[in-house]
């Protein structure tokens, strides 16, 4: 592979493409993916266990410290992973520059806003009376 590479040895060593930050996005997507394998399976099992649960039972479950921590991690990592993925989809399919930029800004703001709403809801239940 290295024999036919057009990249300089320095370029390969630094590991940056022309945009200078591609590797970070790629790496963040993978790290969050690995975290979501475990968090996602826990979440799927939890949703099944609480199918048709009433409010009291659901709140009592979410109040547990382990549950609350796992749910906070799930919400945070899910929205981070989703935003990273949606960013690539927008970059690949939206070719009008102003529309691409505004879509990216809107997508990231909505993702982070929803993440904070979800995190706040979990904290309110965990610390609420």
């Amino acid at each position: 592979m290295a024999r036919h590479s057009l990249r300089t040895p320095l370029g390969r060593a630094i590991g940056l493409g022309s945009a200078k930050h591609g590797a970070e996005h790629w790496w963040a997507q993978r790290v969050s993916a690995v975290a979501l394998i475990l968090l996602g399976l826990w979440f799927a099992a939890s949703v099944i266990a609480h199918a048709g649960a009433d409010h009291a039972a659901f709140v009592a479950w979410l109040k547990g410290p382990i549950t609350a921590i796992l749910m906070l991690l799930l919400v945070a990592v899910t929205f981070y992973h989703a935003a990273l993925g949606l960013q690539v989809v927008i970059e690949d399919y939206v070719h009008t520059e102003w529309l691409k930029t505004s879509s990216l800004v809107a997508m990231w703001l909505i993702s982070m806003g929803l993440a904070v709403a979800g995190i706040f809801a979990v904290l309110r239940i965990a610390f609420g009376g």
Binding site: R30, A33, V34, L36, I37, G40, L41, A44, V47, I48, A49, H50, A51, G52, A53, D54, H55, A56, F58, V59, L62, M71, V75, T78, F79, A82, G85, L86, V89, L114, A117, G118, F120, A121, V122, R124, I125, G128
Partner: protein, 128 residues
């Protein structure tokens, strides 16, 4: 006069392959799951708001539309999960040859269908 066998344009003879279909489906499933996160936040915020709000959310997820959406998200979830693990192996430089790629691809298809059926059956069993 015998007709001459001329080469056909690629778009006339193009057949989708398992590899390309799964590649696109991985993206599509990711987008579907991203839409689902809005409902996850609704579920959590409803639980934090009031008993009435949570009952409304639970009623929606138990309705036929809610169940249909949950079925779609369950399938998208298990497919994206299994195919994501397949991608992580590729990222580690493993399983690139054509035989393994097709074997892992069909495993992902079968696995996501089986897990969706198991998860849904378990959910229905929990409710009753």
């Amino acid at each position: 006069m015998t007709p001459v066998e001329r080469p056909l344009s690629p778009f006339l003879i193009y057949k989708p392959q398992l590899t390309s279909v799964l590649s696109f489906s991985h993206r599509a499933a990711g987008v579907v799951l991203a839409v689902g996160t809005v409902f996850l936040v609704w579920w959590l915020v409803a639980a934090a708001t009031s008993e009435r709000a949570f009952t409304t959310a639970q009623w929606f997820f138990a309705s036929w539309l809610g169940l249909l959406l949950l079925l779609g998200w369950t399938l998208a979830f298990f497919f994206h999960l299994l195919n994501g693990i397949r991608h992580l192996f590729w990222d580690a430089g493993m399983g690139f040859d054509l035989r393994t790629t097709y074997a892992s691809g069909w495993t992902v298809v079968a696995g996501s269908l089986v897990l969706t059926i198991i998860a849904f059956a378990a959910g229905v069993a929990m409710r009753s």
